[in-house]
Each structure stands twice: as C-alpha cells, then as structure tokens.
Symmetry: C2
Subunit: 268 residues, 2 copies
C-alpha cells in the first residue's frame, strides 16, 4: 500500500515468467463495468516491466473483448521483439479464463527521445480551472452509479457541459481539466487512463449512456509535466452505430503529451 490510491489500484505483482497479477479496483466502476482506461493503465504498468530500459508506452493498441469485474486478474505478457530503441510487446488481461482486453504495444524510453517539437496543434480552448465545473457537483445518484468520479478531480469546461443539465451542445466535444486524487502527478502510464476517463463524447450529442469501446489506441508523445492536465474528446463521424473518439491530453507546460483514438459503439 502506498499513500496514493492510484499506485495501489494499478499495482501488479509478477506471478510467473511473464505473468503479472492485479487486483482490479471497484473504485473504477462506472455502471456495470470497469473503466477501460484504468484497465489499460494496469496492463501498461505490467508492460513497463518486461523490456529492460524501455519503461514507457509509445503506442498501445487495445481491443476490448469482454467486460471486466472488480477483483483478481492476470496480465499475461509477451515480448515480440526487443531490439534497438523500441520493443514490441503483447499483453492479455484475463479473469477466470476469459480474456477481457488484448493489447499490442510499442515501448521505449521517452527520456531518450530528441527534444525537437514542431507541433501545430494548439491546446484546447477552455475556461480557466477556477471557472470550470467540478465533477464533485454531480448528483449523488450519478456518483453512486459511477464510483470512478471519486478517483480524480475533473473540472468540465462550462462551454461543453450542457449535457449535464439536459441540454447537450451537439458539437461532439467535451473538455476538462484533470488531476488524480492526492495531487498524484501524471506519468506516461497514467496517461493511458486519462485518455479514457471523461464521459463518452456522445454525451455532448444527446446520447447519454455507456459507449462500449471496441478498440482504443493511445500514443504517448512525451513525459507529462507535473500538475493539471487538460483533456479534450472530439468526434466527427457517428455512423453505422459506431463513432470514433479522438482524445488529446495537454500538460501544464502546454505540451501535447498523449493522443488517442477509439472506435466505440453508440449508446443504445
């Protein structure tokens, strides 16, 4: 146990040559399922340990097979190739013989990348932290339904929060400030959770409800600076019962530290 709940929640213990045991926390439940980002970070935490000198996720691709439940789980890992500056890894999150999530990942050392930045992307245009709407304002029934809301301080941009009062803005855009409990600073593995921590962007389109992820790929582009993160979710293509959700995570130093895209089913 540490004094930071996040580190306990994603903790893994080596239980075999390439297996790691985890204890999935009920604290990350949302409705009947466990938040997919938290699960991905737990897998990512195990993968941090398998290729010497390559602790950081560069690209992680996850396909979601079945809903996880709180309690014991095993992360089975494989090193597909480890040579040069990156390693290609695979992992499965398994509970009671059922694979929940299967992952391919490219890991390396973010600290050894060159310093060049030629980003034309700009940080999300959103209100200052103190003008944003904290998740602690959610009604008790919502917080009971979604215990994960108690794991972090999330401040929603008031320009994208109409859905919370039954008036979705319809732009396919959600934005929020984000910080883990205990002011636990972000790191590359935590970003794998941050990219999937906000409500589904479909909330902003008048489609509340669970949006099961089919596939999510995250690119971690830099080690995040300490402090608050800014997170945006955006979708442009709702079609055939599915939608893509693009996420960007910016750190306190105005660096774009993670980009992700997922394909999810529309809420029913």
């Amino acid at each position: 146990m540490t004094d930071i709940e996040w580190d306990d929640h994603i903790a893994v213990t080596r239980s075999g040559d390439s297996d790691y045991s985890a204890d999935l926390s009920e604290g990350w439940l949302v409705g009947g399922g466990i938040n997919g980002g938290y699960l991905l970070a737990t897998i990512g935490n195990a993968l941090s340990q398998v290729a010497p000198g390559k602790p950081d996720p560069f690209a992680v691709s996850a396909h979601y097979l079945s809903a996880s439940v709180p309690g014991p789980a095993t992360v089975s890992t494989r090193v597909l190739r480890d040579g040069g500056s990156v390693a290609t890894l695979a992992a499965d999150l398994v509970q009671g013989g059922d694979t929940r999530i299967t992952v391919l990942a490219t890991y390396g050392d973010l600290g050894r990348l060159p310093d060049d930045v030629r980003t034309t992307a700009t940080p999300p245009a959103m209100a200052p932290l103190e003008q944003c709407v904290p998740n602690t304002m959610a009604p008790p029934e919502v917080r009971k339904f979604a215990p994960l809301m108690d794991r972090f301080d999330m401040r929603f941009d008031p320009d994208c929060i109409g859905w919370a009062v039954g008036k979705p803005d319809g732009n396919g855009l959600l934005q929020a400030w984000f910080r883990l409990n205990g002011e636990r600073d972000p790191d590359p593995v935590a970003l794998l959770m941050v990219v999937d921590a906000l409500p589904p962007v479909t909330f902003d389109l008048g489609m509340p409800g669970w949006a099961p992820t089919l596939e999510l790929t995250a690119h971690v582009r830099a080690k995040p600076a300490p402090g608050w993160l800014r997170v945006s979710h955006h979708t442009r293509n709702i079609a055939g019962g599915m939608f893509e959700e693009d996420c960007e995570v910016w750190d306190s130093a105005d660096r774009l530290v993670a980009q992700s895209r997922q394909l999810a089913r529309q809420p029913r």
Copy 2:
C-alpha cells in the same frame, strides 16, 4: 491469376488450420521496403476468411517489427473471440521465422450495420480530378525507386504538391485522388492499403525520405462506393523524432469510409 493485379497481389492460400500463405509482390516496393499498407491489406485479406459471416475489418491495429521483402510470407491467424456481431482476431505476418507485422483486429459485417450517419466531418477541400497532378508525372528515377507508384492512379491536389518541386508547403497536409489499376473498385480490405499509400505527410514539411511506421490503426466505417477515392494525410504533432499521421478516405458518394492514424519515425 485474375485480370486485376491487386487481387493477385493480396491473394492468400490456406496452408494450415489457421495459416495462410502469401507471395509479397515486388510491385509494392518503395525504396528498400514494401509498402506497409499493402502488407496490411494482405493480412486483412487473410483475416477476412477466419470468422464466418464477419468478412470486414472494423478496426485493425498493426505494430511493425521488421521490414518485409518480396516473396513468400505466412499470415498466421488466431480467433481470440467470435461472438455476437464482431470477432476479435490476431495475425502475424512472418517471413523466414521473423515476424514482420503483428496485428489485432475487430471484424464484422459492414453490410449489417444500421444506416445512420451523423458525420460532421467534411470531404477534403481539393481540386477536381482533372486539375490534379498525376503520379505518372513523377520523374523516371522516382518511379524506379518506388515501383508502387505504378500500381495506382494517384492525382495530387496541386495545393499540396509543392514538395514535388522542392518547395514544400509546410502545412503538414497531403491530399490526392486515388484509384487502383484496372479501375478496380475499392472494398473494405483495399482501404487498409489506401490509408498508407500516399507519400509520408512529412514530405509537405520539407522532410523527404522514408518514415518507418511504428504503429498504424485503421477504422473502416463503411463499404466504399465504386469509383475514385479522395485521401488526405495530416499531421499536427512532430515531436521527439516521431509524428502522427491521420488519414481520411472519402468515397465517390461523399462518405467517410476509413479513418486511420499512425505513429511513425521522422525521416532522418
């Protein structure tokens, strides 16, 4: 053999319970390597055959381990889960014992998806086909270096073609019309190639040269209508020696039929 070279190039023959043999065509060489999109389509073609009633890629995530060479290859497939409307599949492209590409995929039947479309994305703003610059205008030395240029009719938007005359526009944007040789109409598997057929978007940033893909994920969102496709490549975040390349493919009916993102290394 068929009268359409594309179908010969991606052909696979079942050679074991879950293995398929392929013959990688030298026609898709570009510099020292084989085009990654062509390889992904060949893998995708094998995966089309493994889950009954689920012939179409919905989401395909590929991590690239080593450079392929023309000649025999094996696509080894696994069904991780097949139930309900989608199947989760895995595949490795192997040559001489070396894994070239490892893939996770979610397959289904695009023909059984609901018809709803609420896309806010708009087709790429680009010049009409007849005003665009055909790839056949490339100098002979380029076409010798990149035989793949002879596999399709690609017409570059003149607003994004400065790189071809040594004056890159610097916007991180490439756009082109695309059609396979023999007017072979696009299908979902072919889209896995189309998302990686244009030159790297870094050409537009004054960084010519090969940009090795670390990871590429493609979402096929609809069966493409017959005829020409419009393809755009865009990047916003060049940092740490890597860049993301977002691709959209639009069909002749103005439908966004594929979206992809790859993480690649900057050309040296």
